[in-house]
Symmetry: C3
Subunit: 156 residues, 3 copies
């Protein structure tokens, strides 16, 4: 592969990686597409939500179980992704970080409005780029919103 093609492929990878992140949030906001959601992650992916007062999820089953509960609890989701930067693409691995504004309404009437940051690692698989690691925290003080919301998930 010539030098120009290598550079071109890096740009194409950037697009695919950002699309992989947005696919995750599209699934989160679907409030139903569990298959599509876990498909955004590698089989052994880690999704670390402890900085939000939630759990560290390891692997598809844990991620699926967590979001099954979320989807049962919530009536509305809106996750606005901003500030996404790819810090590194190195062959079949990549790292990025960004922010998300999350709005949500729960069946209990609880309203969520959060401003989060995340670090993400991606892996190139035969089925495209997928999230292998996701670590999210809050930029602003969290109220009791998030932990109340997902109490059923056994928040630590």
């Amino acid at each position: 592969m010539g030098e120009l093609e290598t550079r071109l492929m890096l740009l194409e990878d950037r697009v695919a990686i950002e699309d992989a992140l947005l696919a995750y949030y599209t699934a989160v906001d679907s409030l139903g597409d569990l298959d599509g959601l876990v498909d955004c992650f590698t089989l052994d992916a880690i999704c670390d939500l402890r900085d939000l007062g939630l759990q560290k999820l390891e692997g598809h089953d844990a991620i699926r179980d967590f979001f099954r509960g979320v989807f049962e609890d919530m009536t509305h989701h809106a996750h606005h992704v901003t500030n996404f930067r790819i810090a590194r693409i190195d062959g079949d691995e990549a790292e990025g970080r960004g922010y998300v504004i999350g709005r949500a309404i729960g069946r209990s009437g609880l309203k969520v409005f959060v401003h989060c940051h995340y670090d993400v690692r991606f892996a190139r698989t035969k089925a495209g780029w997928k999230i292998s690691f996701f670590d999210e925290g809050s930029l602003m003080p969290l109220g009791d919103e998030v932990s109340d919301l997902h109490a059923r998930e056994g928040v630590g």
Copy 2:
């Protein structure tokens, strides 16, 4: 055109398509540039706002009339575009989707704060990519804000 150039042009198209979408929101937030606003659309474009309790606008004249009313009613607009993904580019047609956070203040004092999603189709014209179809809805429950706001437009 060689394979590399074809791939390069796809990336250039992505930039141009996202710019076409942002040009539309720049015009919306100008609260005055009706010519610039309709110029973001193809002549026979459809702008379907029925999921917001508003109208289905067909063609430049309908779009211009609607936004003339909006611009007369509003004193402030801020539309923050997020999560834009291009799902398909196929020759001179493209499809994308995304979100927008809309803040607005009306002359009546009404304050709007909405979280919307949209599906967009684009067409490549001699004057660049333009919106040929725009279908917007809300991710969160709408209050009476939007329909009150544009009551003069003959909301159905």
Copy 3:
């Protein structure tokens, strides 16, 4: 440099320019990284915040002094960058514009929630693209939040 490489480099520049902008907001939200923050600007950069009721900052020292005060005053920052468009890349200069949603909490308890627009000019330096000019204003009416917040900076 062939035509394809010139076009490729323009796309690479777009990525680098957006990253330069996001690096600035990353530093702003760090609430501590003054060196990283001033490093986002050229030595003689102008950062014009007068439309926010604040100062026109000229050069690294003025920018550093201003943000030293901001970082002392604030406990939380979240700046969500949206709508960024590069309007022009011309050799070693570029221009862009975009929006930002700013949330902040001050030690005084003051809460900030603003929707801003900015025009930016960038210069290519030996250390990459840097901001040479930044002019920010508000899309929505400003309360007393911003000027109160930075009163110590000698708001005009």
